[in-house]
């Protein structure tokens, strides 16, 4: 018989039957009464044992008074634990004492606060699946206000938890997409509508004049507007394609080759400015990534360093990789104009943001780079001092070449 029922029968705990029935325990039909109690005990124990939740009852010193099969299915273990605490049980089952530490902390929290506590607990089951329980523990007091026991029970909320996580992920994705849509609308509104307005105004002027010299002048102004519209349109299409390339393929991309491609593309600029490019790929020289993304990222960062060079010195660009656990950090450092980050922190990678007076700056480059980095689960950030230069960092998640 489990200890707390013993106590009930011996009269120490009176909550179950009350004073009157215990008074009759001294009468001659003692045997009949014991039978009745046994039946009642079996009835209640059956309910506790059949409840599809795990139940544990503790004495005020955190020793087990009762556990149901929902909590410990093995009968032998279940019998062992009665009268013991979690430390003894952990030793018995060869489990680390840290499990017992956590349970003791929760027990003390319920005992000391005098209130029900709730928490979520995720542990692997014997098959290694992660199971999440919602656990509740509450102290029970006797009529003198003394703590008589602490009841703990938990229900399996693994399915609900999974669903919540899926939903949270979906909400995150949706709000990111919504933000991108808002950005996109504003960029369409500004950058596409502006050249259209110019074209329609120029056409109005052309129509309203009969002077051929005047007409010719106005027509000559149409060309750059159309070119600008074309370029903006292409860049917008490209940025949308990144978002649609859901199944883009990763390959092992050699950073030296990737950089060489960029240097070849920018050779004229590099020569003109007398730019020096140094590299250090000793820690990581190959990154598993979609090649067109990596090419575009490296190209954008290097071409930005050239574009925003300091007028007083030749550009010096230093490109390095660093390993941090399973992550790779690529850094591109320059000695260029730099950016006032205090002023522009919020807008740094935002579409359409331009920080310098440069004729070819449209504010797409960094936005695209950020999109390409984030599409693959990475991060990008910048450190910069105006007039000294900038360092762009890209963190690639799990992109180290697989050991072959």
């Amino acid at each position: 018989m489990i200890p707390f029922l013993h106590k009930l029968i011996s009269g120490k705990y009176r909550t179950l039957k009350g004073k009157d029935s215990l008074a009759t325990a001294e009468e001659p039909d003692h045997k009949l009464l014991m039978e009745q109690l046994d039946r009642q005990k079996a009835f209640y124990e059956n309910i506790l044992n059949k409840l599809p939740t795990d139940i544990a009852v503790f004495d005020p010193d955190h020793r087990y008074l009762f556990v149901n099969p929902g909590a410990i299915s093995n009968e032998e273990y279940r019998k062992f634990i009665i009268g013991k605490d979690d430390y003894e049980y952990a030793a018995y089952r060869n489990r680390p004492a840290s499990v017992a530490d956590k349970r003791r902390a929760k027990f003390l929290e319920a005992k000391n606060s005098g209130k029900e506590i709730r928490w979520e607990d995720t542990l692997p089951d014997p098959k290694g699946n992660m199971i999440t329980h919602l656990r509740r523990m509450y102290p029970v007091y006797d009529e003198h206000g003394q703590l008589s026991m602490v009841i703990g029970f938990g229900i399996d909320i693994t399915e609900r938890k999974k669903m919540e996580e899926t939903q949270a992920e979906l909400v995150k994705q949706l709000s990111a997409q919504n933000r991108q849509l808002t950005d996109f609308c504003s960029i369409v509104s500004h950058n596409l509508r502006a050249p259209l307005v110019n074209m329609s105004m120029l056409t109005d002027f052309i129509e309203s004049t009969d002077d051929p010299v005047e007409q010719k002048l106005l027509i000559s102004k149409l060309r750059p507007v159309i070119d600008n519209l074309h370029a903006t349109f292409n860049e917008l299409v490209e940025s949308i394609q990144i978002r649609q390339d859901l199944e883009i393929k990763c390959e092992d991309v050699c950073l030296d080759d990737c950089l060489q491609r960029t240097i070849d593309g920018l050779q004229t600029e590099i020569n003109k400015l007398g730019a020096k490019i140094e590299t250090d790929f000793t820690q990581v020289d190959v990154i598993n990534y979609p090649p067109q993304y990596l090419n575009s990222i490296v190209h954008n960062l290097v071409s930005n360093s050239l574009k925003y060079h300091h007028p007083g010195r030749s550009p010096l660009i230093s490109i390095k990789t660093r390993k941090e656990g399973e992550k790779v950090i690529l850094s591109v450092q320059d000695n260029g104009l730099g950016i006032d980050l205090v002023k522009h922190k919020e807008n740094f990678f935002k579409i359409g943001k331009v920080f310098h007076r440069h004729p070819n700056a449209k504010g797409f480059g960094l936005y695209m780079t950020k999109t390409q980095v984030e599409a693959m689960g990475g991060r990008i950030w910048v450190e910069s001092v105006p007039d000294e230069g900038s360092v762009f960092y890209i963190e690639f998640d799990h992109r180290i070449k697989q050991a072959s």
Binding site: C185, S186, S189, H190, N191, R193, A194, V197, N198, S200, M201, L202, F205, K221, P224, V225, G352, V354, F355, H356, R357, H358, A361, G363
Partner: protein, 131 residues
Amino acid sequence: MKSIFLIDDDPIFVYLTRRIIASIDCPCQINEFTDGELAISHLASIGNQAEKLPDVIFLDLSMPVMDGWEFLKEYSDLKPKLKKDIALFIVSSSISPQEVERSKGYRAVTDFLIKPVEKRKIIEIMDNVKL
């Protein structure tokens, strides 16, 4: 002579606006600024010289370095120190209602004009300028 500050980085639009203003019968002095920062520092430097301050500001929103919104923030702080009552019009290619709404949060903004701005609107604005 009336004075206009045109704050816009789009050379074609500035050219077209100049042509419209030239075509109306109203002699004007036009100063151009290709971004908000150039305009705000100039305004700050002439703040107590009423004769140098403009009657009207046309402000674009999408500009490099300091965009129209950033300009408005600094302009609102500067305005009480300016020795002239200036009418400020946002002139944007944006058709976003959120931006129109946002502009209402700035007391310095007289109105929000969507590009293209019609000639008669400019005539109306210039007529309202009292010398």
